[in-house]
């Protein structure tokens, strides 16, 4: 289709002298989408570890009802940075990384549409993250007003300190936003124009559909957050009064602008995870993806509906009744396309031939836990119930079931699944399973207790609490530490396998999809020859993919 344009790009690329095993290229300003993808994934994983450490400190404080581990300003700074890092420096940019790696391969393209822009998008990220985290070193520390940064509380800063935590927070989030916008332009263009001959929209993998939907949301909604933050910066540092209630400003307008982006952000994070499920579940159940077209279209459906639901975060913000009711209806509608996805996954697995390797365990575990996240989400959409549990741990439990138990599980599924493709080596299956079970048990121990705590009225963001809430909190904290431990076998496995793992064949899982037709790892320009697509996706009925390749790729740990 637009295959010619991708060949033109090859001309003005950097010289091809980067050898396959030259690790230095991962520290260079490379324009290869695969290198950039790996750079994103590794960088954001480091941020994930930092965010996780902060979470464990928070949980350490919450083991006992009293405030005895962290003083209050520090605690407030920790949950602010924890939430901010996890969202803006882990899940969203990790998705940009894995999408960067996979989308051109899945489309049969040689690279992203704008390779240089791609490199710039990535290189904005590490300095912004370091800037944000370095605010711990300021005399009065980090931002302390939560990742929502609601005014007027976010405007209460140490007098006489123009450079303060809040200031740094705004600047880094705006920078990260700029990087995301650049990325979004690149993804949308790539998906529209760089598809291989024969790769029609309805032959694209669902992963690509979901990346397209998520990146469209970035384009449409992110400017609203950027605008809000710039106005907030003016209020903070230059004496304007956009959001100051006692000086004719309106703090509620900030909430509208903020959630207009930050609700869809949930789907910017979740859609790629749904895409990963749609790749992994069919491959390990040897079934075509059940209802492929509806699942593909449901991605767009989720994106569209999610633009119109932001007020469900503001049901108690002096929001008039008509608005509450209207947004209750729209919020509940999101359940329809997401339901279609969940049914499709289950039907794919039903009456199949399951292979329970690590990626499949993570995908099934994540899909199962998504059900609890989704159901509690529908509950929260019901205004009368939300008015009871808003700002309690019920909400914290709900969104961690989504962001950790679904999305982070999907991310692990993706890492294991594409590890052989990316590194050319197999990971150790046994350690993968250990990692899965520790994570699955830890995740439920950590986040399930938050639901009953919230129902009983434990407010979020408190550093000390009524002793009657202690029981569930102890379980959640121990679960949190288990989650911390669970990451160790993962890191060991990744590094060990990268260095000593068995060589992987091109298609160790006998999966369909163009990325499996090239070598592991793929060459600089992805394909020896641009493939021509002639078959539907997820063609697991086709004997071509059912033949066993003569290799012993599977016993990774042996």
């Amino acid at each position: 289709m637009t295959h010619d344009s991708s060949e033109n790009i090859t001309e003005d690329r950097e010289p091809q002298n980067e050898s396959e095993n030259n690790w230095r290229r991962y520290f260079s300003f490379s324009t290869d989408h695969k290198v950039i993808g790996v750079q994103y994934m590794v960088t954001t994983f480091i941020f994930f570890l930092i965010g996780g450490l902060l979470a464990m400190l928070i949980r350490a404080e919450l083991i006992t009802p009293q405030s005895n581990v962290l003083d209050r300003p520090l605690y407030n700074g920790l949950f602010t940075l924890h939430g901010t890092i996890m969202i803006f420096l882990w899940i969203i940019p990790f998705n940009a990384g894995i999408s960067n790696y996979l989308v051109p391969l899945m489309l049969g393209a040689r690279d992203m549409a704008f390779p240089l822009l791609n490199a710039i998008s990535f290189w904005i990220l590490p300095p912004s993250g370091i800037l944000l985290i370095s605010s711990f070193l300021l005399p009065n520390g980090t931002a302390q007003s939560g990742w929502w940064s609601y005014p007027p509380i976010s405007l209460q800063i140490p007098p006489g300190q123009p450079i303060n935590g809040e200031f740094i927070w705004i600047v880094s989030i705006v920078l990260i936003g700029i990087s995301s916008i650049m990325g979004a332009v690149n993804f949308v263009t790539t998906i529209f124009w760089m598809r291989a001959p024969g790769m029609t929209f309805f032959r694209m993998p669902v992963f690509v559909w979901s990346v397209l939907s998520a990146q469209l949301l970035q384009l449409i909604n992110l400017p609203s957050l950027t605008g809000a933050l710039i106005l907030l910066l003016f209020d903070l540092s230059f004496g304007t009064q956009f959001f100051k209630p006692l000086e004719n400003g309106d703090p509620i307008i900030y909430q509208h602008l903020f959630w207009f982006y930050s609700h869809p952000a949930v789907y910017i994070m979740a859609l790629p995870a749904f895409g990963i499920f749609a790749e992994v579940l069919p491959a390990f159940s040897r079934n075509p993806l059940f209802g492929y077209r509806s699942l593909a279209v449901a991605s767009l459906g989720i994106a569209v509906v999610s633009i119109f639901v932001w007020v469900h975060h503001m049901f108690t913000s002096a929001t008039p009744s008509w608005m509450r009711i209207l947004f209750m209806f729209t919020s509940m509608l999101v359940a329809v396309p997401t339901g279609v996805k969940a049914f499709g996954w289950t039907a794919t697995v039903w009456k199949s031939k399951l292979h329970l390797e690590t990626p499949m365990l993570f995908a099934m575990g994540g899909a199962a836990m998504f059900l609890l996240g989704g159901v509690t989400g529908v509950m929260l959409a019901a205004v009368p119930f939300d008015i009871h549990v808003h700002n309690t741990y019920f909400v914290v439990g709900h969104f961690h079931y989504i962001v950790f138990n679904t999305i982070t599980m999907a991310i692990f599924a993706a890492i294991y699944y594409w590890f052989p493709k990316i590194t050319g080596r197999m990971y150790a299956e046994g350690w993968g399973k250990v990692h899965f079970w520790l994570t699955f048990i830890g995740a439920n121990l950590t986040f399930f207790p938050m639901l009953p705590l919230g129902l009983q009225g434990m407010v979020r963001r408190i550093s000390s609490y009524d002793p009657r809430y202690q029981g569930w909190n102890v379980i959640a904290s121990l679960g949190g530490f288990l989650l911390g431990v669970s990451i160790l076998p993962f890191i060991a496995n990744m590094i060990g396998s990268l260095l000593y793992g068995q060589r992987a064949v091109n298609n160790p899982w006998h999966a369909t999809g163009l990325e499996w037709q090239t070598t592991s790892p793929p060459p600089r320009d992805n394909f020896e020859e641009i493939p021509v697509v002639k078959r539907p996706p997820y063609d697991y009925g086709d004997p071509k993919y059912s033949v066993i390749e003569p290799s012993d790729y599977h016993q990774g740990e042996k």
Binding site: S67, N68, D71, T376, H390, S463
Partner: protein
């Protein structure tokens, strides 16, 4: 024949699921604190209903997954196809239409209960000080304050609640007569706060510069805690107040007695500001200083807002 058996099994499974999820829905009442207002009962029945439906969906799908894991395993190294079916229009239509109807039903149920809460007085009325936004938020016809027997002013600031009763008596305890509609007229001084008593099942942000009304009808005597639910800065966790629901006689008695015996109370935030607890990590980062209020119960018009 075996097909018939399969359908029979599925029907049996669904029947069991229905019973189990109904039972779980009934349990849901006990997961929440006692119901202390007329509103609370409505909210709880909505939650119970949502829980039953949610349990049905979760158990149904997780059941299918677990069954698959147990019975549909491939022999090692068998990479042949499971079954070639790529979709089924009828089934897909069904599972799009069914959730659509289901969520519409849930939304209408929520809407109904919301209406009933409104009649009870949950609906807040927002008055504005700033003329600029009047057209947007001005009380529309259905936003009329509901009749209430008492009006209590609620003043909230970092990090302190106080309440002014109709006789101009001000206290840091909230006393409410049982079974009477009481209007709370809420004012925030500095930042956003949120009025939240878990047993009341309601929550309302209080925005500085706006007067926000909330009408409650407590139905159960006892002592509860009012919390600030919206993060309001350093000493947020310490910001609660005692709520007493009592008979009208006791309420009146309290009003007349306490105002003759002012007591000094300890504001927790102030106490901690002057004497921070010994924590393992100390950052010493900046915090807004809480204001001391020496007298807990006093009879004086406050000019707080």
């Amino acid at each position: 024949m075996s097909r018939f058996l399969e359908y029979l099994l599925i029907a049996g499974y669904i029947a069991v699921l229905l019973v189990v999820s109904h039972w779980i829905g009934q349990q849901a009442y006990s997961w929440m604190p006692p119901e202390a207002t007329a509103e609370a009962q409505k909210v709880d029945s909505l939650f119970s209903f949502l829980t039953s439906i949610g349990a049905f969906i979760i158990l149904g799908l997780v059941g299918m997954m677990v069954y698959s894991v147990l019975f549909f395993r491939a022999p090692k190294n068998d990479y042949s196809e499971g079954h070639p079916s790529r979709g089924d229009i009828k089934l897909e239509f069904l599972w799009t239409a069914a959730p659509t109807l289901l969520v519409l039903w849930l939304a209408f149920q929520g809407f109904n209960i919301y209406q009933q809460l409104n009649i009870l007085g949950l609906q807040q009325v927002v008055h504005l000080h700033t003329p600029l936004e009047e057209p947007v938020y001005a009380a529309s016809s259905d936003d009329k304050p509901k009749g209430a027997a008492e009006t209590i002013d609620v003043f909230v600031k970092q990090w302190d609640w106080s309440f002014r009763y109709p006789n101009n008596f001000t206290s840091n305890e909230l006393h409410l007569p049982v079974n009477r509609r009481t209007r709370l007229n809420m004012h925030a001084k500095d930042v956003l706060h949120s009025f939240y008593v878990p047993e009341f099942r309601l929550q309302q942000y209080i925005v500085p510069g706006r007067d926000i009304d909330l009408v409650v009808t407590p139905t159960r005597t006892g002592q509860y805690k009012l919390k600030d639910a919206l993060f309001s800065g350093t000493y947020f966790a310490l910001m609660d107040a005692d709520v007493h629901i009592e008979s009208l006689e006791q309420y009146n008695q309290w009003l007349s007695q306490t105002q003759h015996q002012p007591t000094t109370i300890k504001n927790q935030a102030v106490a901690e500001y002057t004497q921070p607890p010994k924590t393992f990590f100390k950052s010493g980062w900046y915090t807004v200083a809480p204001e001391q209020r020496a007298i807990a119960n006093e009879r004086k018009v406050m000019n707080d807002t």
